[in-house]
């Protein structure tokens, strides 16, 4: 178990390293000269040269990379080109907002998706057919559009929730809930649909296994077989989906934050992208990759706990 997790951890570190390095070189080499882009078309070449030196772009690429990597490893992601603030502190204030949405949505979707998928696999019939339909709708409707509809109906028209803005949890838990509930619901629909589908298929598959029949042959209570044995064996597949869905949710959160004007990584990423703020974009990619890696590690541990083949190798 420990060895398995250590291997996974090593892989995760390598992954985060490769993603950030790849992004660094992609952003440093492709496209127009960022100094000229920042100064606009009226800038003279002397002004551009000064700007390049100011941004540290006059140094050779390898030394810029090592510089950046050294900083990143110590938590210093550089200075934003458009705001002159520390990228690390900009991200630190915005990350909780995005994580509130993504984690809230993944928890809600997991509970909803696994429950619905499990029940419809056990009960079948009309419930199952309804779920199949809802799953396609949930999968097909774009999350940001659902967010737009929810915002229009429940915030703008009915005024039940604030349409824009964010209240930190530490300031007011109820205020916080009011500002994140609609975004979370908007994100949940599609993810819950996928998890429900995966759970349903997985439970149906386990129900067909020989050991379920053999467990039933021992006269065990129905619920014991269905809850303890079937659910536990069926849980691996939806967990695999959850880690993929979480990656998608980070992207979804970016969209939804813009609908509700939440000061998260998403709004920051969009404005940085528009202003070609390379250090900011790099920082966001690194934080995104690290977040994904941590979530995958957590899910791997749960997976190992569920599956003795992983644990006892």
């Amino acid at each position: 178990m420990v060895r398995f997790l250590l291997t996974r951890f090593g892989g995760a570190v390598v992954l985060a390293f490769i993603v950030s390095t790849g992004t660094f070189f992609l952003l440093s080499t492709a496209g127009a000269d960022p100094a000229a882009a920042l100064l606009g078309i009226d800038a003279t070449s002397a002004q551009i040269a000064v700007k390049r030196a100011e941004l540290g772009l006059d140094a050779p690429l390898p030394s810029r990379y090592l510089n950046w990597l050294g900083g990143a490893l110590t938590g210093n992601l550089g200075t934003s080109w458009s705001t002159n603030q520390q990228v690390s502190s900009l991200i630190a204030t915005r990350l909780p907002v995005t994580l509130s949405l993504a984690v809230g949505a993944i928890l809600l979707s997991s509970v909803l998706g696994i429950t619905l998928g499990y029940i419809s696999a056990i009960k079948r019939g009309w419930l199952d057919r309804t779920l199949q339909f809802v799953v396609v709708i949930g999968y097909g409707l774009p999350g940001f559009w659902v967010a737009l509809v929810l915002s229009t109906v429940f915030a703008v028209q009915l005024g039940w929730f604030p349409a824009t803005g964010y209240t930190p949890f530490t300031q007011s838990p109820t205020g916080w809930a009011g500002t994140v509930i609609l975004p979370i619901v908007a994100l949940t629909l599609g993810v819950a649909a996928s998890i429900a589908q995966q759970t349903r298929d997985s439970v149906l598959d386990v129900l067909r296994q020989g050991y379920v029949r053999t467990l039933r042959s021992r006269g065990l209570p129905h619920w014991r077989v269905l809850v303890l044995h079937v659910l536990r064996n069926a849980a691996a597949a939806p967990l695999g989906v959850i880690s993929l869905q979480f990656i998608g949710l980070l992207g979804g959160a970016i969209m939804v934050e813009n609908v509700f004007a939440l000061p998260g990584l998403g709004t920051f990423a969009v404005s940085s992208s528009i202003s070609s703020d390379v250090p900011a974009i790099l920082g966001i990619v690194v934080v995104g990759a690290v977040t994904v890696v941590i979530v995958n590690l957590i899910l791997d541990s749960v997976m190992a706990w569920l599956n003795p083949k992983v644990r006892t190798r």
């Binding site: 020989g210 050991y211 029949r213 042959s217 065990l220 992208s273």
Partner: protein, 622 residues
């Protein structure tokens, strides 16, 4: 039970698939919707009199009118026109991304699956890496350098979704690669390229189509999402920029979100539904003959007349009364370990067991013998109430250890399973729950039935393991099924079956999946346990060696009927029925492999039996 002898031919997407897709209402509806959307995009100039850039200050946020059937947006542009031209943008963007993803993903998957080894490891690693990237963040990074140039962004999106195609192509290629006919083709001197094109591509075409529909939908949504974020060209009409406009006017004109959102949602749902329908029609092709039958959880009691009719559902809502009128007379159940009277089992319209009756006396060992597909496993499972949900069992009477079980529901069966009637399955390793230790699986039924403490159950389980011949019982308690050999797993299953002291053990080919040396040991174990506890055994087998070794009496089944029964000695020495003689002859050949024996049997019974569907359905359900 037997592996299908025929080489699975590559299953190409035939014209039949397209027809089946359109016959499926969901497939037809989603195809029509998509055709309409494509038509709107192509014929946009014919369907509106405005140019996409036409705007008029007086029309800003205009309501629906004759001039503007859906109203006008925040810049005074006609919404209907924007929708039509927006469809173009969406379809072009989606097509670029999907094409790139297929062009990269499919060849990579083919090579990876076909060549394997290090290249496969490397490509799979890259694929996993790409899949763990949050796509939108990567696209924002791309846009920060290239600006919002949609074709470039969609190429990037194609690269990010290529792993979807890589994975399905790789796994299909791997599966085909391991089939015999690829080896044969190699021997015949075909180049890898021709083998891939001839044998592999046809099988992956279906999954690629399904995935293509899904990725197309994802790309269209992603493109609209980026433009919605303001990362598009505001002068080019698209559904995303329309939604961006709607968000800016959300307080004054909330209705603006409706039409672009619907267009996007309908397109994306239609593609998802098309994918699902494609999946259906492709998998339907593989299992064309199997139609789901109405569900039946437990054998239903039925009068002799309804049992004879093909539709035997008559008494399901009157189980009690039916049991009272058609159940067993107390005299016939009294004392017997198992009484089966008039059992019929059908799957859909196909009946696979045609009225089987027999009795197993206490302490008696009865062999149920027949070739694969004779229905013997169906009889065994029906006695336990454990047939698959698709099966429809009908019987005149059932008695288990003196209890009238006619018309038992699943709940009723649970009271006798484990304590009065127990089951040993055929494949030991797939019949232990992989997620729990051996100890847990032994203790669980004892605690439930015998109401004993955990410690007591643990000690009993250790003793049981020792009794069934496991050398390290304490250590084995803590092991998981994947750490056991087949023979050990079967001993554990036997221990679990006898743990609550059943009067009758039903063993379904308990040695078939084991090595020859282990087979004899397991049979010895069963015989010893039977002698110690005087429990009755109904043993399903195709092997007359087992019969000679163990059985007091034998029932010979063919095509769902008992053709002969008698004492083991009589059947072995003086078989009356020609089928028994054929079985016996095939069984006594020197060291026959299963395949040889099955082939011999098939040849022997081909003369009188034409029911080939039977084999198919037992293969599926047994």
């Amino acid at each position: 039970m037997t592996t299908p002898a025929a080489t699975p031919a590559p299953a190409p997407v035939r014209r039949g698939t397209a027809r089946r897709l359109l016959a499926n209402p969901v497939g037809a509806a989603s195809s029509i919707v998509l055709v309409v959307i494509v038509f709107c995009a192509v014929a946009a100039p014919l369907l509106t009199s405005y140019a996409p850039s036409d705007s008029a200050l007086k029309d800003v946020l205009a309501e629906a009118s004759a001039a503007h059937p859906l109203g006008a947006d925040g810049s005074g542009r006609d919404i209907w026109t924007q929708l039509l031209y927006g469809a173009r943008q969406s379809l072009i963007a989606g097509t670029i991304a999907t094409a790139v993803a297929i062009i990269i993903g499919v060849p990579a998957g083919l090579i990876s699956g076909y060549r394997g080894r290090r290249l496969d490891t490397a490509l799979s690693w890259v694929s996993d890496l790409v899949m763990s990237l949050p796509a939108i963040i990567v696209l924002l990074a791309v846009i920060s350098r290239t600006g919002p140039v949609m074709p470039v962004v969609m190429v990037a999106f194609g690269l990010l979704t290529a792993p979807f195609f890589y994975r399905i192509t790789r796994s299909s290629t791997l599966a085909v690669r391991n089939e015999l006919f690829v080896d044969a083709a190699q021997v015949a001197g075909l180049t890898p390229l021709r083998i891939l094109a001839r044998h592999v591509l046809p099988t992956v075409r279906g999954p690629i189509l399904i995935q293509g529909a899904l990725v197309l939908g994802m790309a269209i949504v992603a493109q609209a999402g980026l433009e919605f974020l303001g990362l598009g060209d505001p002068s080019t009409p698209s559904w995303g920029t329309m939604l961006n406009d709607a968000l800016r006017n959300i307080y004054v004109a909330p209705q603006l979100i409706v039409f672009p959102g619907l267009a996007l949602g309908i397109t994306s749902c239609a593609l998802a539904l098309l994918g699902a329908a494609l999946n259906d029609s492709l998998s339907r092709r593989d299992t064309a003959a199997v139609r789901p039958a109405p569900r039946a959880k437990a054998p239903r009691a039925a009068s002799a007349t309804t049992a004879a009719s093909s539709d035997g559902v008559a008494s399901s809502d009157g189980v009690a009364s039916a049991a009272a009128t058609t159940g067993l007379s107390p005299a016939s159940t009294a004392g017997a370990a198992l009484v089966v009277d008039g059992l019929r089992v059908s799957y859909g319209a196909t009946e696979v067991v045609h009225g089987v009756s027999f009795t197993v006396q206490p302490g008696e060992v009865v062999g149920l013998v027949g070739e694969s597909g004779s229905g013997k496993t169906q009889v065994a499972l029906a006695s336990l109430g454990l047939l698959p949900d698709t099966a429809r069992p009908v019987l005149r009477g059932l008695g288990i250890d003196g209890v009238d079980a006619t018309g038992f529901t699943d709940r009723d069966f649970r009271r006798v399973r484990g304590t009065r009637i127990a089951y040993v399955p055929q494949e030991p390793l797939s019949n232990l729950d992989p997620a729990f230790t051996v100890g847990y699986q032994l203790i669980e039924p004892m605690r439930h039935h015998l109401k004993i403490s955990k410690a007591e159950a643990h000690n009993k389980a250790v003793a049981l393991l020792a009794r069934v011949g496991i050398t390290e019982p304490e250590a084995t308690m803590a092991r998981y099924p994947h750490q056991l050999s087949g023979g050990m797993a079967q001993r554990v299953l036997i221990a679990a079956a006898v743990s609550c002291d059943p009067a009758l053990l039903i063993a379904d080919e308990p040695t078939t999946a084991l090595d020859v040396t282990v087979q004899a040991e397991v049979l010895d174990l069963l015989r010893d346990l039977q002698r110690e506890s005087r429990m009755a055994i109904l043993i399903v087998t195709h092997n007359f060696g087992v019969v000679a070794d163990l059985c007091d009496r034998v029932l010979v089944m063919r095509s769902g009927e008992v053709v002969e029964q008698g004492t083991a000695a009589t059947i072995l020495t003086a078989p009356q029925h020609e089928y028994t003689r054929a079985l016996l002859g095939a069984s006594l050949d020197s060291a026959p492999s299963r395949r040889d024996r099955d082939r011999a049997l098939t040849a022997a019974s081909a003369v009188s039996s034409t029911d080939s569907s039977l084999t198919a359905s037992e293969t599926t359900h047994a």
